[in-house]
Subunit: 139 residues, 3 copies
């Protein structure tokens, strides 16, 4: 069994945003030399997500509005977490809806994906450096 580990870093200039990280993940698979196995990609933070969906800008605007409806940022004093001096309680909720991690099959040295699957980093409390972990095990 082989294993491979890599950290990716992101600094989203706004509070919220989505970035397609599929090319960086594919580069990690090539660097690992692993042909058959499982790939884990997870946010190392608790106010952001890694998820798989469509690379379509209208959908990303829809996600942003929908998550704001499910867990609004304002008023910040509606959340007890924000009594600690933070203003990001809503980001902890949005991240649970979108998920922390994805697990993807690697087959023949490639992401074993359907036609439209792409991997995204979803930021809900940006404007600072954040890390994403890529871990691969296999042969």
């Amino acid at each position: 069994m082989k294993s491979y580990r890599k950290e990716l870093t992101f600094n989203i200039p706004s509070r919220r945003g989505f970035v397609n990280i599929t090319p960086q993940v594919e580069e990690a698979i090539r660097a690992s030399g692993i042909q058959e196995g499982l790939l884990l990609v997870n946010s190392m933070h608790i106010t952001s997500s890694v998820f798989i969906n469509d690379d379509e800008s209208g959908l990303h605007r829809d996600y942003d509005q929908w998550l704001e409806r499910l867990a609004p940022h304002e008023p910040v004093d509606q959340y007890r977490h924000n009594d600690t001096g933070e203003d990001n309680a809503d980001a902890h909720m949005k991240r649970q809806v979108m998920g922390r991690e994805v697990v993807v099959a690697i087959t023949n040295g490639q992401l074993d994906f359907g036609t439209w699957e792409q991997i995204f980093y979803g930021e809900f409390d940006g404007r600072r450096k954040k890390r994403v972990l890529v871990k691969i095990i296999g042969e």
Copy 2:
């Protein structure tokens, strides 16, 4: 380390529906010959889910109504994704709530499950052929 891959296909005759796919997944485990390892089951599409819950028809009706409340299909013009000519933006949201994939332990050649755990395919934009990936690694 051994690995095994299989695709399952579904064509749900309505827009939304839930199918218990546990028997097909168990058949894949038997075919793999793997006794100890991890099993990944994921939708290869971005408008459907694979999830684990109860095989109870009342609950499935509750899920359907609840997801419609969280992310209504109508009016379709409330979503910018639908400006592309699609009408399935709501399906991309419902799928995030229910999840893309499940990872399950395999112990002694079996799904290592609690009493009521069953694996479901959840369709939110059906009436066409969709694929589910089963990938197993272990020994």
Copy 3:
């Protein structure tokens, strides 16, 4: 390839609650002797979650209120699942938002975690014994 399996048990004295289970998971990693691999932690029940977020009591109160808003317990007769004699349909929904399982990288014999990541058991239908599965594969 090595594999390791352990069950943890919990009996939350109220209907809902969150417990930090990171120490028990770290003990399982030590017992496994696995240095590089993947760790699966999942609820073996369909009305509770395993998830990764912050160990902050204000946030846990926010989660509880937010989940009650998304899927209220009362009135119990709003859910068809409860026609079966259960009163826990809401718990099946809350668990989907928070997730069934987490998959975590093991690197150098440790949880490969960001600064604030902690693993929680989330109970939505407590006052009875529940089980959590820890499965590790690697070398």
